[in-house]
């Protein structure tokens, strides 16, 4: 019974957090709502006996990635969102498409039949040993590829954030007056 209660509490928290992500006007509140979603989901991962993924979710996702988002908000300033814009119909169309899409997925999931499970020892399912056995035997090649991907992402992020080709070229194109005007502009 306890597991069922934990599931419902965390599911409600996750859905409320998800609503908070898309509803709140300030980016900082969206980010903190996403942290709520991630922590709720991490508890569900633990419920589904994915201990290692739980730890990674809390440390890497709710920790590192979200701190990165917070840093970017701190760097760019809290940009409040304007209503409207020149694609006004997009708002309603977006909600419509999203809700129809969600209804399709939901009804598909409700009618699902499941394959019979394998019967493995659940006491060691999802532990670090099992994950390590999987990663370094059957999934060795994808694992090495993800490390290359991380290296490429790190190099690319450093290059872009040091002022890559885009800002370098554009900044040279701005005239001196424009630049002076831009720098005198008080930050809101």
């Amino acid at each position: 019974m306890l597991a069922v209660a934990i599931f419902w509490v965390m599911a409600v928290l996750a859905v409320l957090g998800g609503l908070g992500v898309i509803v709140s006007r300030q980016p900082i509140r969206s980010i903190l709502s996403l942290v709520v979603v991630m922590l709720a989901l991490s508890v569900l991962f633990l419920l589904l006996s994915a201990q290692f993924v739980f730890a990674v979710q809390v440390i890497v996702y709710a920790g590192a990635v979200m701190v990165l988002f917070l840093f970017v908000v701190a760097l760019l300033g809290p940009g409040r969102e304007r209503r409207g814009g020149h694609l006004r119909f997009q708002w309603w169309l977006g909600w419509l498409v999203g809700l129809v899409f969600g209804g399709f997925i939901y009804s598909m999931v409700q009618g699902a039949h499941f394959r019979p499970p394998q019967h493995v020892d659940l006491s060691s399912f999802g532990t670090v040993q099992e994950i390590g056995m999987g990663i370094f035997t059957r999934f060795l090649y994808p694992f090495e590829l993800t490390s290359v991907l991380l290296l490429v992402a790190a190099v690319g992020a450093i290059y872009l954030s040091r002022g890559g080709w885009l800002s370098g070229g554009r900044r040279a194109a701005l005239s001196d007056e424009e630049r002076a005007g831009r720098e005198e502009e008080p930050h809101a």
């Binding site: 019974m1 306890l2 597991a3 996750a14 859905v15 998800g18 992500v21 898309i22 980016p27 969206s30 979603v37 989901l41 569900l44 991962f45 419920l47 994915a50 290692f52 993924v53 990674v56 979710q57 996702y61 590192a64 990635v65 990165l68 988002f69 970017v72 940009g79 969102e81 304007r82 814009g85 020149h86 694609l87 997009q90 909600w95 999203g98 969600g102 997925i105 939901y106 999931v109 409700q110 699902a112 039949h113 499941f114 394959r115 499970p117 394998q118 493995v120 999802g126 994950i131 999987g134 990663i135 993800t146 991907l149 992402a153 992020a157 872009l160 954030s161 002022g163 885009l166 800002s167």
Partner: protein, 112 residues
């Protein structure tokens, strides 16, 4: 036909469809956010929300089939999501040096 979708956890029995339904709701919220919101930072956050929902389905099926591959896939997804967030945020910071981006529809220089 037995219902293989039941997951027994510590005495309680949960249905895998509950987890899948929750993941569907979260994914839909993320998709609506990408379509509706204008701030590019919030769009990146909504993409993270969708990736998390997908992770939940992967881990649910890993537990239901009692097959570890789903959890390994979820770890790969997390790595890709982290890389995507880093590069997306770096692009955002780089663009914001040139000008303020409040609305993603303003970035339309590539329009023919």
């Amino acid at each position: 036909m037995p219902d293989y979708g039941q997951i027994t956890i510590g005495g309680g029995t949960l249905s895998a469809t509950w987890f899948l339904g929750l993941a569907a709701i979260l994914f839909t919220l993320g998709a609506i956010g990408v379509l509706v919101r204008r701030n590019p930072l919030i769009i990146l956050i909504c993409i993270e929300l969708m990736l998390n929902a997908v992770n939940l389905t992967l881990i649910t099926f890993a537990r239901q089939l009692q097959d570890l591959d789903g959890q390994l896939f979820a770890l790969m997804t997390m790595t890709v999501a982290a890389a995507e967030a880093v590069v997306g945020l770096a692009i955002l910071v780089d663009i914001s040096r040139v000008r303020e981006v409040e609305d993603i529809d303003e970035l339309n220089e590539l329009k023919g």
